[in-house]
């Protein structure tokens, strides 16, 4: 579904990604793991076209994204839940969800998808008229994921969904991701919480200082000596 081929990208004179290649097949949940500053967020931002690639190619279902303006990427079926969730704090929960359905194609199905998001996350229905900034961390994460689902995406990009959440909320967030995956959503998830994310992902890539260092099934990565030593402290 999503193919990234030899991607390099960065900010100004600083290069954050070097020749990164990866693939996400339809129905898969794929994780990109790695330490802080490895370039994980940059990778997602380059896929969403929030930043330009300096070389390499990104394509979705065979269609090249490199020259697509960022605001048209959603039309290719890609929804991106950014780092720190980035809800509109002074808009209500429902208005945040409405923004997720901004494109004309999504507006037509707003009611139906809103209902589905509310069924998924009953807390969002309870808090529909509340400013998003007043939600707890876990609720904000639900709202951010719900907002992404409002566009009816084929591929979900999740940037550090567990960051800044209390341990018990981290658990429930990964549970939500497992559900999405079970419902057939294709997910590319970037995480520092390696132990947890490898439980929900089928395959994973290890990104270090902007380069892919390892790749394989989630099980293989969990067993690899490099990851056990450097990241899991075993």
């Amino acid at each position: 579904m999503l193919t990234v081929q030899g991607l390099s990208a960065g900010y100004g004179g600083f290069q954050a990604l070097f020749d990164v290649s990866l693939e996400v097949k339809a129905g898969e949940t794929v994780a990109v793991i790695g330490p802080n500053g490895a370039g994980k967020t940059t990778l997602l931002r380059a896929i969403s076209r929030l930043i330009d690639a300096s070389s390499g190619e990104v394509s979705m279902e065979g269609r090249r994204l490199n020259d697509v303006p960022a605001h048209d990427v959603i039309g290719y079926g890609i929804a991106h839940v950014p780092e720190h969730r980035r809800l509109f704090p002074r808009l209500t929960v429902e208005d945040n969800l409405r923004m997720g359905a901004f494109t004309p194609a999504a507006r037509a199905r707003f009611r139906e998808r809103l209902e589905r998001v509310y069924r998924h996350f009953p807390r969002m229905r309870e808090r529909r008229d509340q400013a998003a900034g007043t939600l707890s961390g876990g609720e904000q994460q639900m709202c951010a994921i719900g907002r992404a689902l409002m566009s009816g995406p084929k591929l979900l990009l999740l940037d550090e969904p567990s960051a800044g959440l209390a341990p018990v909320v981290v658990q429930s967030t990964f549970e939500v991701i497992r559900q999405m995956s079970a419902e057939g959503y294709t997910v590319l998830i970037v995480e520092q919480n390696i132990r947890q994310v490898l439980k929900v992902a089928q395959r994973a890539y290890l990104l270090e200082t902007g380069r892919i260092k390892l790749q394989g099934s989630a099980g293989e990565l969990l067993e690899s000596g490099l990851i056990r030593k450097a990241y899991l402290g075993l």
Binding site: I74, G75, F102, R147
Partner: protein, 290 residues
Amino acid sequence: MGQTFDLFLLEAIVNGVLLGGILALLALGLNLIFGVIDVVWICYAELIMIGMYCVYYLHASFGWPLWLAFAGSVALVSLLGVLLHQYVIRPVLGAEPINQLLVTGGVLFLLQGLATLAFGVEFRNLGVRLPTLEVGEMFISVARLIAFGAALAGMVATYLFLKRTYLGTAIRAISQDRSIMPLMGVNPNRIFLITSAIGGALAGLAACLLVLQYDIHPAIGLSFGPIAFLVCVLGGLGNLVGGFVAAFIFAQLISVGGYFFHLEWGYVIAFLFFIAVMFWKPRGLFGGKS
């Protein structure tokens, strides 16, 4: 004697309310632009001046019916707002605030100069005489009453648009987090252009209402531009509701202050109040953006 005293005071209060309506309309346009785009249109009142000339020429020279001249003015100033954004604001969006202030300040003098060249310095009057209403023993200008009603209608329409539509929601959203808007499928520049068109249309509407009350000349913008800006700052720059409330406070100070002392004293009192508030609450009575 005591009764006459109260009557004049009441008249001053009513006039203050009417003035407040038009000030609130002026503040709304400026606040909307600042709240969404983060740039102050220093030349806002000069857009209104152009709109006033537009009504004047369409109606008095070309003989268009007044309502059509009004529509023409709203359309023209709205277009000017779009051009202003696309060719003046957009190139400096990432620049220092002082540069943004200076370019729109430049446009102020440009428009004033062009208007002087094109229309001359003489005062022009639309020549529409609206009657004065006598309510009880008070005198109320119909022009002001119309201005108040239309300003209120314009504000309600803007409010409903912002609250009830996808575009309006996007306009509120972009003022809170500009950089993730593309992830929602929103082209920020398109939202900025739409916001500029609305800001321009509000200036055009203000032009229609002011042209009924004031003579037109190239420097007319200076007589209400600074006040509109002060009202915005008083209410908290970018805070639409704050600007609305501040407009009525400011107008009452001018009107009732003018009644108790002397007309010019009204302005002195209002500006003194403004300065005092700036010491006490530098971000305005109601804080910043909302």
